[in-house]
Symmetry: C2
Subunit: 552 residues, 2 copies
């Protein structure tokens, strides 16, 4: 019966934060919403980025009509180079989103081979049997949209990432009327951002950081360093306005900050008075009280401009006693150590550091809807079915409970990556699974997929290092030619242990038949097991043990 | 002039959280306050615990009169086995603190060789030229003390960890009067806990979690699982009281929870109605609405009872749909991933999970003084000098600023691990440094120190694995006997790369003179450098490369 059903198939972002990617299918037409990446957990050793497994899309290559992007954050666009290399389909996005995408594809030398199609709020377009209308939403980034998708069984709405900011700094308002209109006409299903389902109330407007920042600007007697996420165009705009108002010139420092502010300027999101920006090389030409430095690196990234400035290792950005450093951002879980290390360095330089310590006034606000905004959206759209997206399992579950409790929604359904949800005008049901998962990428010169086994090996190596027994066996006689060698790194052994471990290997060899010794697989495994037992008993450690046989 | 000066020498905990240890010296007498450990940051691969470098104490062994413990948390007592193995001196602590210490020393088979001396609030004792009075303070653990130490140049007060809890569940009140008395008589220096210097206001009392917990107990229709830090005796007491009040039997599950609640019971901190506790094997004999399970594992520790129960892998603790799980604890930074993984599993089992989501009512309170309590203590003691302890650099600095701003203190001084602060009745000055630092320990059968080089190797291995070129050289002829072998693990290589890497090694050998080949050090380094360059150029990765030469 799948022929008369609409299928919703999340491939990433439902069951984790990041790598958002979701397929919508009607018969032989598939539309993909977002193509994000995820930054790896620290236990994924040596992995640079994580992207969704798109086996399902590759297997259905000829049916995929395009990828529609809701906005330009990495967890929505960062997987594009990887996905497009497997699947060359048109990419749809708003002007600002595509500007980010262009930079990214250019870096991967894929720009010329990709069809980029600009979309705009209110301008409907067709993709196979689907008619898509982008609807303007507000978020921490500019030019973000939700998607209303007309399908043969009804309209589904995907919110993208959003909050309801009633006073966005660029005046481009959240389109309440359009959502109300769709709600009036009837919505089959709403797929809504779950990120902040833990937070009661409303998320404050982007503007709400201004009073505290204004106070910081007023009090600062020397240089002011301002750091935020480079994609936080609103925040940058507020900082630049304040700099101008308080008579400070601005130098932009750090690659991502320079790129992002140039794009924002080109597209009219930053309206700068002439002469406000100066080159970082001119910082010393101005009195400290007349300088603001817009600098990247809020998460303590080791090579970022701020991390380097914090240890006085940046060409232009020198932080001196009495300077003020503002971190207008949140602490992303997992980055605490590196962020606080930078902050400690700043304190050692006798700088004033203003960061989100959870106690003083607001210097950062979230870009995601809190509970009341989630409820408001559900009330506006009155969907028959509700499907939470973007979050760990507990967020999806809580969000479904929240939606169900309002009494507007017929049914709230928790689905996860790989689940196939089938919808028609009357019903919604989970029907089977497709391949889904995480692909780990070592971003070297070429994008290399890191297999699970490699990561397991690295984890093993990272805990106890390795011990390699090396044997030389005479190819002709089958005899062991010399005492086994033990090579080790990253493993702590008391003196004498390695010598006796060699004896263990030697005695394993002695106690093995000629037949066993001739079968390298068997003899390697015997040595591995005996040596492992011996080392574990004597040190309680479990180094990676990998016997090597050299034939001579 | 050091002869007439008192020296304060922090060896741990000033510049980091954890491994608290501080020496106080007058001429040839040294007294040590606390002997803590620190749990390693994730980048210290394979390291189990971190303890302070006590070279200074070992070098002055004959002068050390004893170690005084302020309370029984790991960051104050956890380093004892390590320190006592280098330095066998008497250990002073309150009854409850010593009960924890006994368990720890017993585990390390050191109990019989250690002199443990019980101290009590208000009971002064002498140690060389020092007279020490323990003063009762409140904290998240019971039986905690601050120390007032009379020295030849005046009284110094060390707060230990504290908050000012005006209604501690055991009724043993924070001794405001004693502090006031010392303040009146005059205090030379105050060493005060900086942990919560970021928080304005007062830290709520331990009691303040009761209303929300009571509500949870009232609403829960099925089994109730209650988890908290096993040392949070007050919290356990409140949970047991509520269980009794709401007609639930209690089973205690998890080693640390069992041990800790037994100690608390023995020492009279838990007053249990007969029949309240049942054996975990009896859980199924009671209706779900009549059971509470006190379970350890709030931090998502992989082998903890709660983690195992979350994946239904615990013998007695089975979590069923509709059961409620309360995590009455905070999320320690760095543990987010493992904690939320457990919570997600609990949601998948359709349990109600009550955790500190920052939004709903209070289910956990801190054990450390907030700013107003810190100010109150300074006002009570009116110290001439103020020295912040326990915190990263930024906490110490902020705490010094807070103290200075009150106008009571003559001088606030920021010192860090290894600094020597010299005091007399009139002045306080930093004078030089002693050896201080962190010792990484692999807690196997024996306590093995992990050298920096081993950790560096592990980190290197963890990122890109290893490549080992193995050569066989004929001892007699000096000739290379066969094609070099390449052994690799944890390293991603495209097909063909390893073969061409072998060629690189072979050609390095060809281009080396007989003399170079005879010097294994030289030829190994040549191979390492050439191979490293080749691999880096072709893969952008940097595996650990370690040439091995076998003589045959």
């Amino acid at each position: 019966m799948a022929d008369t059903k609409l299928q919703i198939i999340p491939l990433g972002g439902l069951g984790e934060f990041g790598m958002n990617c979701l397929a919508v299918r009607w018969q032989n037409d598939i539309l993909v919403i977002d193509a994000g990446l995820m930054f790896p957990e620290s236990e994924l050793l040596g992995v640079d980025i994580v992207v969704p497994d798109i086996t399902y899309l590759v297997e259905n290559k000829e049916h995929v009509r395009g990828i529609i992007l809701t906005h330009g954050h990495e967890d929505h666009i960062g997987g594009l180079p990887w996905i497009l290399s497997e699947l060359n389909v048109p990419v749809y996005g708003t002007e600002f989103t595509l500007a980010y995408v262009e930079g990214k594809l250019d870096e991967h030398k894929m720009l010329d081979d990709t069809e980029l199609i600009e979309i705009a709020p209110g301008a409907k377009f067709s993709l196979g049997p689907f008619t898509v209308e982008p609807i303007r939403v507000t978020h921490s980034l500019v030019d973000c949209v939700a998607l209303a998708i007309e399908t043969p069984v009804g309209v589904i709405v995907h919110t993208g990432d959003f909050k309801i900011d009633l006073s966005p700094p660029d005046g481009k308002a959240f389109d309440l009327h359009k959502f109300a209109e769709y709600g009036k006409r009837g919505v089959l299903a709403l797929l809504q951002d779950s990120t902040n389902v833990d937070r009661p109330g409303y998320t404050p407007s982007e503007w709400s950081v201004k009073p505290r920042l204004d106070e910081v600007f007023s009090r600062t007697k020397k240089k002011l360093f301002f750091s935020c996420f480079s994609s936080s165009i609103y925040r940058i705009r507020i900082a630049l306005d304040l700099a101008h108002f308080h008579g400070r010139k601005v130098a932009v420092v750090g690659r991502s900050m320079v790129e992002s502010s140039e794009i924002a300027q080109d597209l009219g999101y930053l309206d700068l008075p002439p002469g406000l920006l100066i080159h970082p090389g001119q910082i010393n030409d101005f009195a400290p009280e007349n300088m603001m430095i817009l600098i990247s690196g809020t998460q303590g990234e080791p090579m970022s401009a701020l991390s380097r400035a914090a240890v006085d290792n940046h060409k232009h950005a020198h932080i001196l006693p009495g300077d003020t450093v503002v971190l207008s951002s949140r602490v992303i879980p997992g980055n605490e150590k590196s962020i606080y290390r930078v902050i400690d360095h700043l304190y050692r330089r006798d700088a004033h550091v203003i960061y989100d310590d959870g106690a003083s006034g607001l210097i950062h606000v979230s870009g995601h809807a809190s509970q009341e905004e989630q409820r408001l959206m559900i009330n506006l759209l009155k969907p028959k079915f509700f499907i939470p997206v973007h979050g760990d399992y507990r967020h999806l579950k809580k969000h479904a409970e929240l939606a169900q409790s309002i009494g507007v929604v017929d049914q709230a359904l928790v689905i996860e990556d790989g689940d196939v949800l089938e919808l028609d005008r009357e019903s919604a049901q989970k029907k089977g699974k497709v391949t889904a998962g995480r692909i780990c990428i070592d971003s070297g010169s070429t994008a290399d997929v890191v297999e699970d086994i490699v990561i397991r090996d690295r984890r093993h190596l990272s805990e106890d290092g390795f011990v390699l027994p090396i044997l030389t066996i005479n190819k002709l006689s089958g005899k062991v030619e010399r005492q086994p060698e033990l090579v080790t790194r990253g493993f702590v052994a008391e003196s004498g242990l390695l010598e006796s471990a060699r004896q263990v290997v030697a005695s394993t060899l002695e106690n093995s038949s000629a037949e066993e010794k001739a079968d390298y697989g068997v003899i390697k495994e015997k040595i591995r097991v005996d040596l492992k037992r011996y080392i574990q008993k004597n040190t309680s450690r479990r180094p990676l043990i990998m016997p090597v046989i050299l034939e001579i």
